[in-house]
């Protein structure tokens, strides 16, 4: 039994170590990942929860959710929070942003996803992608930064709207009128289902 537990633990850790991505690999690795996610989406035998968790394990290693959470809260907000609050906030934020991403996938039909060549912008790498949906071209930009383990996504622009910037403005508004505890309270409320 104990052996089985360790095996499960190791298999959980494996994708993390395999994720390290060099700058020149971003285009090809992401293309592969997008195709895997699409095949999961097209697999109609999976239930919605199974589908979502399968996609999560595929995509998780490429996102830096902790940094995303920090940037969304902003420097002053982060520094004002206690370690316990930080920990809870990061967990809540990660859940929220994942749910948001998954709910976007519910709207996906069978549009073709095109990835452009990654562009180096200062010390970041931007990977632009688009789909032609309902007769209109929709762009999604993935922003990577160089972390210890390789290149990780820290922000996503949908139609030019940065997700992190949107959260930042909202959280700043919340913190202006109330404490971090009130913000956490709002985040704790479960998202109503579609």
């Amino acid at each position: 039994m104990k052996k089985l537990f360790y095996l499960a633990l190791i298999s959980l850790l494996l994708p993390l170590s395999a994720a390290a991505m060099e700058a020149n690999e971003i285009g090809s690795v992401m293309r592969k990942k997008v195709d895997v996610v699409l095949s999961i989406l097209n697999d109609h035998n999976l239930s919605k929860t199974e589908r979502n968790s399968a996609i999560e394990t595929e995509m998780d290693p490429y996102f830096d959710f902790v940094l995303m959470a920090k940037l969304s809260l902003g420097k002053s907000g982060w520094q004002a929070a206690t370690p316990a609050q930080r920990k809870e906030y990061v967990a809540l934020f990660e859940r929220r942003i994942k749910d948001f991403y998954m709910s976007k996938l519910d709207l996906y039909k069978d549009e073709v996803i095109t990835l452009e060549t990654p562009q180096e912008v200062k010390n970041r790498i931007y990977l632009n992608s688009y789909i032609v949906e309902k007769g209109e071209k929709r762009e999604v930009l993935y922003k990577f930064y160089h972390a210890k383990e390789g290149w990780l996504i820290y922000d996503v622009d949908v139609l030019g709207v940065s997700i992190i910037q949107s959260y930042r403005s909202q959280f700043a508004g919340e913190l202006e009128n109330g404490s971090i505890e009130q913000l956490l309270n709002k985040l704790r409320q479960p998202q109503p289902d579609a």
């Binding site: 830096d64 902790v66 940094l67 959470a69 920090k70 940037l71 902003g74 420097k75 002053s76 982060w78 520094q79 370690p83 316990a84 930080r86 920990k87 906030y89 990061v90 948001f100 709910s103 976007k104 709207l107 200062k122 010390n123 032609v132 309902k134 007769g135 209109e136 071209k137 930064y145 160089h146 972390a147 210890k148 383990e149 820290y154 622009d157 139609l159 030019g160 709207v161 940065s162 992190i164 910037q165 949107s166 930042r168 403005s169 909202q170 959280f171 700043a172 508004g173 919340e174 913190l175 202006e176 709002k186 985040l187 998202q191 109503p192 579609a194």
Partner: protein, 307 residues
């Protein structure tokens, strides 16, 4: 013999009249556009002066700071965490809302109007759109949307020219011709399929291109978030867009103001029917809907202006 020549002559006469009519229609469109260019000549001069006054100020690119790796996976309670902001240069990348609040003198009204629009959506638009979606399947609604997009061509042409984007003006013209013919009067975006991509520009973008700021955010009933600059731009668009009725013109589609507003309503209702789910998702997701919509609108517009 004579009768044969006669029928050919009649055919030629018809043909020439037909060509003449097409030419007249196009000349009318061009005439109106030229009239506009005259009206907006002053705006352009103003824009140029802004453009040149800004060129001198362009800051030298900042020396790219090295990101030193920080232990971001070691856990949020880690001490190292406080450094992440300054070392990575992330703080400069995003605007600090607390330090420089958005100029929003109408915030009270805007919040109220956002709430009003939500109620309007729940009790009026949602039932109407549900019925509409039930009657018209999505592919047809996409076709209708494409037709309206195609009719936006005069606006896009004028604004590409005003921004001196001659290559885009040319490709927009190409798209209009291809989609109006091979795309069955604009129902299908044939041009996109063969790789001629849209470069849609409106007056709001032209003003932004020449350095005009957004003024202040204003939420409109029905239409949602906008700002002073884009509302001004939209009013100018009325004159060029064949879907609106402002004055009697040769290429007007509506015959009077009521039909004009009817068409505008149909255009927006049809478009909104395509993106209803997205709107609902955003509404559910947002902690505070008004600032979220305002920021998203501004960011999206800034991207469109910079392109």
């Amino acid at each position: 013999m004579i009768s044969r020549y006669y029928s050919e002559a009649v055919f030629m006469a018809y043909y020439v009249t037909f060509l003449y009519q097409i030419a007249v229609t196009y000349l009318n469109i061009l005439g109106t556009i030229v009239k506009f260019m005259k009206r907006l000549f002053l705006t352009m001069i103003l824009g140029f002066s802004l453009l040149y006054s800004q060129e001198g100020e362009s800051a030298a690119p900042a020396p790219s700071d090295q990101i030193s790796p920080f232990a971001h996976l070691s856990g949020p309670e880690d001490e190292v965490f406080d450094d992440g902001f300054d070392i990575g240069g992330f703080e400069e990348e995003f605007t600090d809302v607390a330090a420089e609040p958005v100029y929003d003198p109408l915030e009270g009204y805007n919040r109220w109007m956002t709430g009003f629009n939500n109620i309007l959506f729940d009790y009026l638009l949602d039932p109407v759109i549900s019925t509409y979606n039930f009657i018209l399947p999505e592919p047809i609604r996409v076709c209708i949307n494409n037709i309206f997009n195609n009719l936006y061509y005069p606006v896009s042409l004028v604004n590409n020219l005003l921004q001196l984007k001659f290559d885009h003006a040319l490709s927009e013209t190409g798209r209009f011709i291809i989609n109006s013919t091979f795309g069955f009067a604009g129902m299908f975006d044939t041009a996109m399929q063969i790789g001629v991509e849209p470069h849609v520009e409106d007056f709001g973008q032209t003003l932004g291109h020449y350095g005009v700021g957004n003024g202040m955010p204003i939420v409109l009933p029905f239409f949602g978030p906008s700002n002073l600059r884009d509302i001004t731009g939209e009013l100018l668009d009325f004159y060029v867009n064949p879907v609106y009725y402002v004055e009697p013109r040769q290429y007007n589609i509506p015959r009077n103001t009521y039909e004009g507003w009817g068409l505008v309503g149909a255009k927006h209702l049809n478009k909104f029917s395509l993106y209803k789910q997205e709107y609902l998702q955003i509404r559910r997701e947002a902690l505070d809907l008004y600032p979220f919509m305002r920021d998203a609108y501004e960011q999206n517009r800034n991207k469109l202006i910079s392109e």
